[in-house]
């Protein structure tokens, strides 16, 4: 049974960066990894494919072709299997429905989510409709993580996501802090994690190297493997691959959340 994880968090907080770097780090450790991008922006796998954008499941569905596994699974950095669900452009259609449909098809078509050690579902920013929890509801995810910084808004979003997870009776396996250089960030996020019944799994310091590599279409693991930040991702990757116990999160009320950010 592969480890199947989903990473949730406010839009723009760094889920895709984290997911792709963790995927690359795990691959370096010898694990077989599959990453599934569930965002219509289709940007989860770019840095694992040297900047290449791959055909998405929804694009192929639209063209009405007979879809086979090799049409949607692409091999990236050191063998990472990459899949992008795709979806509509902004302002039209229903991205959530796209995720539901594509996940269904993936289940039927692909062994990439079974014959592997780690599957990472990189989901869109906020869980805004039923479709966005499709990977969890359809039984494809057994561990969830929430990514946040120490600022109020991303924490509010993280807390909101926990409400969704709690409603679905889904366990949270850890909180990851992606630093924005806010004051007392590590303490704040650590405290938040504890109070919702989880733990701070990793503190990722802000490092411009991540952005520089991304711009060129690379993960730091590939482009700057000996950098300090690469080391942080490797450590996080190892933490995730350990046996991890999850717990259904207990979301905080807004008052407590504001108090926390004033620490």
């Amino acid at each position: 049974m592969p480890k199947q994880i989903a990473i949730y968090g406010k839009g723009g907080i760094g889920k895709s960066s984290t997911a792709s770097n963790v995927a690359a780090a795990c691959t370096d450790e010898g694990y077989r990894v599959t990453i599934i991008g569930c965002d219509p922006k289709s940007d989860s796998s770019i840095t694992l494919l040297q900047g290449r954008r791959i055909p998405t499941i929804m694009d192929l569905m639209r063209e009405d072709v007979d879809i086979k596994e090799e049409d949607i699974v692409f091999i990236g950095y050191k063998g990472v299997k990459c899949v992008e669900i795709g979806g509509p452009e902004p302002g039209i259609g229903c991205a959530g429905r796209g995720i539901i449909v594509a996940i269904s098809m993936l289940k039927k078509l692909s062994s990439a989510i079974e014959d592997t050690d780690l599957v990472i579902y990189d989901v869109p920013g906020d869980i805004v409709c039923g479709g966005f929890v499709a990977p969890v509801k359809k039984g494809l995810v057994n561990e969830t993580y929430v990514l946040t910084s120490g600022e109020y808004m991303p924490l509010y979003a993280a807390n909101n996501i926990c409400k969704g997870l709690a409603r679905l009776d889904v366990a949270l396996n850890g909180v990851i802090c992606n630093s924005r250089d806010a004051q007392n960030e590590e303490i704040i996020v650590s405290e938040f994690a504890k109070e919702i019944g989880s733990q701070l799994l990793a503190f990722i310091p802000k490092d411009v190297l991540v952005q520089t590599c991304e711009r060129d279409g690379f993960s730091v693991i590939e482009k700057a493997p000996d950098s300090e930040i690469a080391g942080v991702y490797r450590k996080l990757a190892r933490s995730i691959m350990e046996k991890r116990v999850g717990k259904i999160p207990e979301p905080l009320d807004d008052k407590r959340l504001r108090e926390l950010t004033r620490i």
Partner: protein, 373 residues
């Protein structure tokens, strides 16, 4: 490189709904109550008609609030009420476009309520070109519940695939737009048929009908056989019917038996059984083969039900009298080479909730005109 399928042509006229197909499939599986999880108006007409066939259909009545906030609570409530009120032995829950788009998990409500009886959950919407998808999805759920066997499931899938092909080749899915057509005037067609019988011409009398529609189509074959007998030419008519009582879902077998009994009582002879009531997509091939072997020199054929499922090869030189219940089927049948095409308008509702043969317009016309023959 993905293999491009041939692009499916545009069809502008509306096609039968997969949601409705799922409902009828649940009926065929003797489901007592079905809950439509969706807007109150979805599938209204058929939901109403199915009550005539003994299956209750209720709805969770999702509205804008339901679309936006989700409908799980509504489904839980209706499921509980259904169990209380109807004490069903088998329950169905069917999705709709609205509930499926917003990602409603039908199973969640079932887990919460924990009914003591099997619940067949069908996650279907109407967004499929071929309504046979609705049947397949319903049967997949039935298979998962252990209500049908793997063998029966595979058999049904094969039949449905063929049914879809029949519609694409010569049916209502064969053209971009098909205008409804009333067909030929029944009294003129009946007149010609009677003429042929009186002249001592030899004819094949075929019933190839889809499930319960056979309750009315069989009346036509009965009329033809009875009249030929009355006029002294009974031995010129060969009867071929898709009334095999040993195949099909429970309701199909039951109906086949009921129709056969009615026909037997009137002295109808069963020269050839070409298949079951759900085998109409392939029974035509069997009929065609038999005709090729034994009756290729016959003069005319009466084909009631799904005439376009019969290959033309062995009948193209005969005078064909075809009876359909689809006004959109007339033009394709004429183009295939069927000489006369007659439409039994609005047949389906008249064959719901019945267990005996129902009089057809064409049958009634034949009988009336035969009185003066």
């Amino acid at each position: 490189m993905p293999v491009k399928k041939e692009k499916e042509p545009l069809i502008m006229h509306p096609r039968p709904s997969s949601i409705v197909a799922a409902l009828y499939t649940l009926r065929d599986l003797d489901t007592d109550v079905v809950i439509l999880h969706g807007p109150p108006g979805c599938s209204f007409k058929h939901a109403r008609l199915l009550e005539e066939d003994g299956m209750r259909v209720v709805t969770t009545s999702l509205d804008e609030t339901g679309f936006v906030f989700g409908g799980k609570d509504a489904l839980v409530e209706v499921l509980q009420k259904v169990i209380e009120r109807f004490k069903p032995k088998r329950i169905g829950i069917v999705g709709t476009c609205a509930s499926m788009i917003i990602g409603e998990e039908l199973h969640e409500a079932v887990i919460e309520v924990q009914p003591d009886v099997p619940v067949i959950e069908v996650e279907v919407h109407a967004g499929y070109r071929d309504n046979t998808q609705g049947v397949i999805i319903a049967l997949e759920s039935a298979l998962a519940c252990g209500i049908i066997s793997e063998t029966e499931f595979e058999r049904q899938k094969a039949l449905l695939k063929e049914a879809t092909m029949v519609e694409k080749r010569h049916g209502a899915a064969s053209k971009e737009y098909l205008e409804p057509n009333r067909g030929d005037l029944k009294y003129k067609v009946a007149g010609r048929l009677l003429e042929l019988i009186k002249q001592g011409k030899k004819g094949i009398n075929i019933l190839n009908a889809k499930k319960e529609t056979a309750f009315m189509f069989a009346d036509i074959n009965l009329a033809v056989a009875e009249i030929a007998q009355k006029l002294g030419f009974g031995s010129n008519i060969i009867n071929m019917v898709n009334l095999d009582i040993n195949v099909g879902l429970p309701k199909n077998r039951r109906n086949a038996r009921e129709i056969k009994d009615d026909l037997s009582q009137k002295g109808f002879e069963f020269h050839h059984i070409i298949g079951g009531l759900d085998e109409y997509p392939i029974a035509g091939n069997t009929a065609s083969q038999i005709i090729g072997e034994k009756y290729s020199d016959y003069d005319f054929a009466v084909i009631a039900g799904v005439p376009h499922a019969l290959p033309m090869d062995n009948i193209k030189n005969m005078e064909l009298f075809s009876i359909t219940n689809g006004p959109r089927q007339v033009v394709p049948l004429k183009e295939m080479g069927h000489t006369y095409v007659v439409v039994e308008i609005d047949l389906h509702p008249k064959t719901l909730g019945v267990s005996h043969i129902v009089e057809s317009e064409f049958g009634a016309t034949l009988r009336e005109m035969a009185k003066d023959a």
